[in-house]
Amino acid sequence: MRKRIERQTLHLYIEGELDMKNANDLKSLIDMEIDKKGIRIIVLHMEDLQFIDSSGLGVILGRYKKLLPLGGKLKISNVPPHLYKIMELSGLPKIIEFLPKKEVL
């Protein structure tokens, strides 16, 4: 997974499939950035995400909830069209900010 830190914002580019097999790896990676490196703003880029289920969505919601009391933010960018429906059903767009591509440079 590609990552870059710019102006104290962590950008993570999630690729492939996010299910119970690797959701915990994403969780540990993000938690380390928050706990050890003091990252407070995270943008998850999803243009190369092919599949996500409730295990993956749970980790995203969990990181959002972890950042909230720390004054941090988690945002999602570039959700591919085939994942719109599951995102919608999960209710995440109601609590997490979804960014269109041009706003995230």
Partner: protein, 145 residues
């Protein structure tokens, strides 16, 4: 009516969630399911198998999960079976945002319900759980617009 059946029993390992999903997707593709329906099938199988591993077997990798797929020309029936601890209250387990694990969203059954045409759960404490899901196949040719 042409019928295809697949029965696969695999270790309750997270890696096998991917395999169960791929297998179902490959079969769905052969039945010419549209891409969005293949996606829905993949999510549903993923949720059912994840539930079996996480909740049925408490992540014990030494147990086994069985996936049964039964395809005809007009519907695809998927069963995910574990011999784990069972669900004490199926009705409660199927409600939105009910999860025994705070890191999970309790969305598994919601996705299965939304993405499949029929969902049935049979469970017995200490004997296991069987999730039966049906998706109808639209035999009409896709419209031209």
């Amino acid at each position: 009516m042409k019928v295809n059946k697949i029965i696969l029993t695999f270790s309750s390992l997270p890696e096998n969630v991917t395999i169960a999903r791929m297998l179902t997707s490959a079969l769905g593709a052969q039945l010419n399911l549209p891409l969005n329906e293949l996606e829905e099938l993949k999510v549903s199988v993923s949720e059912a198998v994840s539930n079996a591993i996480i909740h049925g077997y408490n992540n014990n990798p030494d147990k086994f999960v069985t996936l049964k797929i039964d395809a005809t020309t007009d519907k695809i029936t998927i069963q995910v079976i574990d011999k784990g601890r069972g669900i004490p209250n199926i009705k409660q387990a199927m409600q939105a945002s009910f999860s025994t694990d705070p890191e999970r969203m309790g969305l598994g059954f919601i996705f299965m319900q939304s993405f499949m045409d029929k969902l049935n759960v049979e469970s017995e404490i200490d004997h296991g759980t069987k999730v039966i899901m049906v998706k109808h196949i639209n035999t009409q040719p896709p419209s031209s617009h």
